[in-house]
């Protein structure tokens, strides 16, 4: 599904923040991406959702060499990836329902065809009664769940979550982890970037550890 071969990344003329990364993400797999602050987790996540291009090496995503893709092809490929941002990135002038339905609208789907599915998902994440609310009035936990719902509504093959439990209390963090495990069981590959050791200890999964720009894989 995802293959990195000797990937390096530097910003401008600065030092390499990621060095010689070589690893694979298999279909239906679950892994934590961890490491100390500044180790390059967010940079690696940005490479994974095609927001950055590597300065060297090869990245293959769903069988495509990303260096060879046009902008439109990248956009199409990105629809197969769900991303939960650390800062949620919900659109403030849209309701919770509209935020969650946005990826489907972008894909050009008819609202009559996806409305029930969006409502069902909102109920599933506990936002059934908040679907008319705008993000500024949602609590941190609600925003987190809305961001997760938006990331999974289009049934992505790969789900990336950057510090998804960074803004919530431990009990909600545990519940969100269970949500990701459920999604993984339904067929989605999941990568959770976190430095929360307690969260990782709750589920036995592969760990990708970044340290000083290099990766160590613990299966």
């Amino acid at each position: 599904m995802v293959r990195f071969e000797n990937v390096g990344l530097r910003y401008g003329l600065g030092p390499e923040v990621l060095r010689d990364l070589s690893f694979r993400i298999e279909p239906h797999s679950f892994q934590f991406l961890t490491g100390p602050s500044g180790a390059g987790k967010t940079s690696l996540m940005r490479l994974l959702f095609l927001s950055l291009r590597p300065t060297r090496g090869l990245i293959t995503l769903f069988g495509h060499d990303i260096a060879m893709l046009s902008k439109d092809a990248v956009a199409t490929l990105r629809r197969r990836i769900g991303v939960v941002f650390q800062d949620f990135r919900l659109i403030d002038h849209m309701t919770t329902y509209e935020n969650v339905a946005l990826p489907l609208r972008v894909m050009g789907h008819d609202e009559d065809g996806f409305r029930d599915e969006v409502v069902e998902l909102l109920n599933w994440v506990g936002l059934g009664e908040r679907m008319w609310a705008l993000p500024p009035v949602l609590s941190g936990g609600e925003k987190q769940r809305a961001a997760i719902a938006r990331a999974v509504i289009a049934r992505p093959q790969l789900l990336l979550a950057d510090e998804p439990t960074g803004n919530v209390d431990p009990s909600l963090a545990a519940r969100l982890l269970r949500l990701f495990i459920e999604l993984n069981k339904s067929g989605t590959s999941v990568i959770i970037a976190t430095h929360d050791i307690g969260l990782m200890d709750q589920y036995d999964a592969r760990r990708l550890v970044l340290h000083e720009g290099r990766m160590h894989v613990y299966d």
């Binding site: 439109d72 990105r78 659109i91 002038h93 329902y97 946005l102 409305r115 409502v119 459920e182």
Partner: protein, 324 residues
């Protein structure tokens, strides 16, 4: 798992709108690009003000051009016969004969000899009123209005007059008309230069204001980009939204200018016959910018809206490039 999840961490929710006890279906009502924003309102204000200024400048240029054209036509419809006094000549007889020749010439609509007193009054602004004009060799004037159709052969009249009345000569104001034409052309070109500057300032202001408005929506562009929207999808929505804002501003500004010109035209008609009205009419003609002027204003409204839309597309594309 979902039920357990739902049961936990439920926080106070805003009550959904209900109809007869049944929850209505949600709908995707919101536009992709926010409809109301401070930046959007500021953009409309900038577009409106700049379109108004550009339209007023256009109207002024059209008015100046039309007024100069009217002045030229007015002056060209009139020629003057000058009869100089001379030793041993009866100037009254010379004036009468020259007027008779002019009246009999084809293409002459009206001939009006100025009396001695009228001729003297013409000199009063320069010589004062206490001068004994009887002692001065003051030439006499005959004002001749020419017909539009058939036009008289003024060259023939200029040749004929001195043959019949030695002291008479014809002045068709050609030198004055040439100077006026040059002045009019200079004023028109100056007006066009000012219009070009105003239009350039309008376009630049609109472009910068559009960029500012889009900068406030950068997060929307980023989210759309990251959830898989193509660049053309994002640009199309922004372009449509900003075309609407540009049209709104353009209609307010251009519409205001059109209303102003219409009011001035109406006021000009109402004042016609009064001293002020006649003065304005002498300077600006009918005070109407005509079909050409109104069409130019409408074209400007459309142009400004298109520039706003194009600037938004360009800015969104540049924003997307920076995201990469």
């Amino acid at each position: 798992m979902p039920d357990a999840y739902v049961a936990a961490e439920r926080e106070p929710a805003s009550p959904p709108p209900k109809q007869a006890g049944k929850q209505p279906l949600p709908r995707f009502h919101s536009p992709i690009v926010p409809r109301h924003s401070v930046a959007g309102r500021a953009l409309v204000a900038v577009v409106a003000i700049m379109t108004f200024l550009a339209a007023v400048t256009t109207g002024a240029v059209v008015l100046v051009r039309s007024a100069i054209s009217d002045w030229q036509a007015e002056v060209a419809r009139e020629v003057t016969i000058q009869v100089r006094p001379g030793a041993g000549r009866n100037i009254d007889a010379d004036v009468a004969k020259a007027a008779e020749i002019a009246r009999g010439f084809p293409g002459i609509a009206e001939v009006r000899p100025y009396s001695k007193e009228e001729s003297a009054r013409l000199l009063e602004p320069w010589l004062g009123s206490g001068v004994a004009f009887e002692d001065l060799p003051v030439p006499r004037l005959i004002v001749v209005r020419v017909a539009a159709d058939p036009a008289p052969d003024l060259a023939q009249l200029r040749k004929l007059l001195p043959e019949q009345v030695a002291a008479a000569s014809l002045d068709d104001h050609r030198g004055f008309i040439d100077r006026m034409r040059t002045m009019g052309r200079a004023a028109f070109l100056g007006g066009l230069a000012v219009l070009a500057l105003v239009l350039t300032a309008t376009m630049l202001s609109v472009m910068f204001a559009t960029r500012g408005a889009i900068a406030t929506n950068r997060s929307v562009v980023e989210v759309l980009h990251l959830i898989g929207a193509t660049n053309s999808f994002i640009a199309k929505h922004f372009e449509r939204r900003f075309l609407g804002l540009g049209l709104k501003g353009g209609l307010i500004g251009g519409g205001g200018a059109i209303a102003l010109f219409a009011l001035m035209e109406l006021a000009g008609r109402r004042l016609l016959g009064t001293a002020t009205g006649d003065q304005f009419a002498a300077l600006f003609g009918s005070f109407s910018i005509g079909v050409i002027g109104y069409t130019a204003v409408v074209v400007q409204i459309v142009l400004v809206a298109l520039v706003t839309a194009a600037a938004s597309r360009r800015t969104v594309n540049r924003t997307l490039e920076t995201i990469h």
